[in-house]
């Protein structure tokens, strides 16, 4: 069982290589950011798979990673708003009217 779990963890890590490629390639900032999000989810999966092998306390690490998974993305959308402190949803109504 240990062998399988480690293999599965290694396989998830390998798929994260794909996410790395997307972070490198972009093209948009949103693409890079959500690929980093995939790295986060994969990291949660790996921490869970390691729990029976290394220590069940690894689940606490998975909880912290999952809890803060959205953290970087929130920082990103905040920072990319015009004044650096807003929310992309705020920009929508007025711009939507312009479009129509």
């Amino acid at each position: 069982m240990t062998g399988w779990l480690l293999f599965a963890a290694a396989a998830i890590l390998l798929t994260l290589g794909g996410a790395f490629w997307r972070v490198w390639q972009g093209p948009g900032e949103a693409d890079r950011m959500m690929a980093a999000q995939l790295v986060g989810t994969g990291g949660v999966g790996v921490a869970m798979l390691l729990a029976p092998v290394i220590s069940w306390h690894a689940l606490d690490v998975a909880i912290v990673l999952a809890l803060l998974a959205a953290f970087a993305a929130v920082g990103f959308v905040k920072a990319s708003s015009p004044d650096g402190a807003g929310d992309p949803e705020e920009a929508e109504p007025s711009e939507g009217e312009e479009g129509q």
Partner: protein
């Protein structure tokens, strides 16, 4: 199978670090650094150092990413240009030489020894069952006390960057979000869970991985989520209650440590009292760490621009 896993993990760490350091584009480098933080946290899980993995997950993959992405946007607004790397043979050789020498020396360090056995023998006298917490708050309490003061000093250094005319304003940028929007929903959903997780990590830290630093960081992070959505009013740097919260940890640590003077020496916790003393210190230390880290990330008071 372990070797396969280790090889893939180490390869990912190196790739992420290389891309974060040498890759073109500041934003790309920063995102790679966030990914790098996640892989480093996994490396600590792999080594079985769950205490460190928790700290790295909360700080490396959480707070640092937020700080860096904010800084990138700020530099962009300031119009600061980016430049290509000044590639050359000499820097590469110098760095490779240092890395090689470090690895060579590290591998020649005699394997035996360490302080594993000493820490294990003294553990029953420390008042806690988690050896890492015992080292942090008892055996090497000096380090931790001074560290909590370093954090405070760092916050003072950040606040010192405020402009004279903004000193009266609340800390950080004027954060806002669409009422009832996704961000606000998230900021109402996550903090209750995060507070439970943070408090659990502190409480559990006496007997299993966790402690004031890990719990405090998680609390700081969920507090920041609420602040980012504009749900909590940010304090001014001269707010009395916040200053009390910032100083409470080091102050209580020093007081409890000084009370040890009567029982043996400064920061010496006698075995019978150690558990109560350490728990008291940890509670206040968590409060101060959470407040200090959150304020460090928010930064000094900043200009109130009208959007």
């Amino acid at each position: 199978m372990t070797v396969l896993f280790d090889l893939v993990l180490c390869a990912l760490m190196l790739l992420a670090a290389l891309a974060a350091i040498g890759g073109r584009g500041l934003f790309r480098a920063t995102v790679f650094f966030v990914a790098y933080g996640i892989t480093v946290a996994l490396a600590w899980v792999r080594l079985g150092a769950i205490d460190v993995a928790l700290a790295e997950a909360a700080i490396g993959a959480g707070l640092t990413g937020l700080l860096l992405l904010g800084a990138v946007a700020r530099l962009r607004r300031a119009g600061a240009p980016e430049f290509p790397v000044r590639a050359g043979l000499v820097p590469a050789l110098a760095a490779a030489g240092v890395a090689g020498a470090t690895g060579w020396v590290a591998l020649r360090v005699p394997g035996a020894g360490g302080l594993w056995t000493e820490a294990g023998e003294a553990l029953p006298l420390s008042g806690v069952e988690n050896p890492v917490t015992a080292v942090l708050l008892n055996f090497r309490a000096w380090d931790t006390l001074l560290e909590s003061i370093v954090l405070l000093a760092a916050l003072l250094a950040v606040w010192a960057l405020a402009r004279e005319e903004e000193w009266e304003a609340p800390v950080g940028p004027p954060l806002h979000a669409r009422p009832g929007g996704v961000l606000e929903g998230m900021a109402r959903l996550l903090p209750p869970v995060g507070i439970v997780v943070g408090v659990f990590l502190v409480w559990a830290g006496a007997s299993q991985p966790g402690g004031a630093f890990q719990g405090g960081t998680v609390l700081a992070a969920v507090g920041l989520i609420a602040a980012l959505a504009g749900l909590v009013a940010l304090p001014r740097p001269d707010s009395g209650s916040w200053r009390t919260a910032l100083a409470a940890g080091p102050a209580v640590f020093l007081l409890v440590g000084a009370s040890g003077l009567a029982l043996g020496g400064l920061l010496l916790f006698p075995p019978d009292w150690a558990k109560a003393m350490i728990l008291t210190v940890e509670v206040f230390l968590t409060l101060s760490i959470a407040a200090t880290l959150a304020l460090l990330v928010l930064g000094p008071p900043q200009p109130r621009r009208m959007p």
